[in-house]
């Protein structure tokens, strides 16, 4: 049954951000429908921001990391329940 879950992972060690700027609302919320191209979070590493795209269509099921928390390379960030 796990094959219905798509895990979004971090491509790089850095800091996890749920929004694109400090004042902006979070890019996604739990329960929200997303497309593969949607940007779901940002990772800052070495002063460079990387936009993380969802990769698969579905619904955001879990957000596994708190805003501004450090993350490792390949760490799971979000779970997407695929349609």
């Amino acid at each position: 049954m796990d094959n219905t879950i798509h895990t979004v992972t971090s491509p790089v060690m850095g800091t996890f951000y749920r929004s694109s700027t400090p004042d902006a609302p979070p890019l996604v919320e739990i329960g929200q429908s997303v497309t593969p191209e949607d940007i779901v979070c940002m990772i800052e590493s070495m002063k460079i921001f990387t936009e993380i795209r969802c990769g698969k269509a579905g619904v955001v099921k879990k957000i596994l990391v708190e805003n501004e928390e450090p993350v490792m390379k390949n760490q799971a960030l979000m779970e997407i329940e695929m349609k």
């Binding site: 060690m13 850095g14 800052e44 460079i48």
Partner: protein
Amino acid sequence: MTRGADKGKNMTFKKILVANRGEIALRIIRTCREMGIKTVAVYSDADMDSLPVKQADEAMHIGPALSRKSYLNQDAVIAAARETGADAVHAGYGFLSESASFAQACHDNGIIFIGPSSRTIARAGDKSAARQILIKMGIPVIPGSDDVIATPEAACDAADQVGYPVILKAAGGGGGRGMRIARNQKDLLAAFSVASAEAGAAFGNPALYLEKYIEKPRHIEIQILGDHFGNYVHLGERECSIQMRYQKLIEEAPSFFVDESLREQLGSTAIRIARAFEYFNAGTMEFLVDKDKNFYFMEVNARVQVEHPVTELITGIDIVRKQIEIAAGNELGLAQADILLNGWAMECRINASDPTDNFMPSPGEITSVIFPGGPGVRLDTHIHDRYMVSPFYDSLLGKLCVWAPERFQAVRRMKRALDEFEITGIATTIDFYKKVMTDDRFQNGDIDTHFLEHMVSL
């Protein structure tokens, strides 16, 4: 420190606080030690075991890893300087080095800021005001629209004034988005709506401005030194055209493209700009130079620059030592005729980024490192075996510099040094630079600011 009575003679500091980290902190500490000046390192949680902390006479913890809570925290740095009794602060590059308010805070606390005055930093940092001052002085700047362009018609008017080709740029941000080149009015009308939409999507601000587009531009900068008594010299140029997304990666001095006449023009212009801003200490004036050797002023860098070693290698002048001597109130003690450029120097910025993955940052632990050495090699770095490259700071691991009597030998020497350099555990730019050193266009000096796009596409 004493100043005033015996103007410009052998005044020095007892203790300097180094308000930075990494290779530049180490660089400053090295010169201080050679001058017999005590040093204080400041460090964040991430840098507790770093080489600058080990090499300095004293070290003070100033906060957590996040820069804005440590290296950018003015109050913490000033408190550390007061507590350790430092009589001066050297801020290196980045962080607080070009902060007018920090320079002022140092002054207000009776601490000498090693750099230009707070007022000069503020004036030079206000790009549009600086541009107006220089235009009045007859110094060439890149012709462009004075204000943002609201309509396609306004863009055409502005383009007619500066002459085609022109480039549209997003007012809200950089990085190439919202940027379009137009070679005639028809192109411009088409480009305007696309660039405006792109700028709106990327920055939430569709405003554009327009500049003359410089064909095959080179980024060439002049190092200057000035004391508190109105004496100035320039130390020749640095060629910084090898860039990726506006980040310099390889620099050399002198420039293959700059002849004696252009050097004299750029040098005297840089000194005129410095005088206009009442600039003292070390500084850099950046220019864009087109293929016909027309030059345009871009900006003042009011600090020591990352790439200063290439100038040191061809002039024999320790720029950090000069900064300290000038800040202590000494006269420059150099005339332009004393500045002789000898040989060729080149620097490769060794970064923790992966050229095979679109230069993605690659923080992590360095499991082992083998350093290059031998004739004509200088390496400024803070890394070592088992060094943890933190994701909190920029990706510069070190600067590999070489000197040789002429350019081709410098290129060969750089390739040899890169071949010796081995970093395991993380991705670096070392292998990418080996490709650049063996590229025909690079070897022939046929470079401009678009060169790396050509290299990456190979």
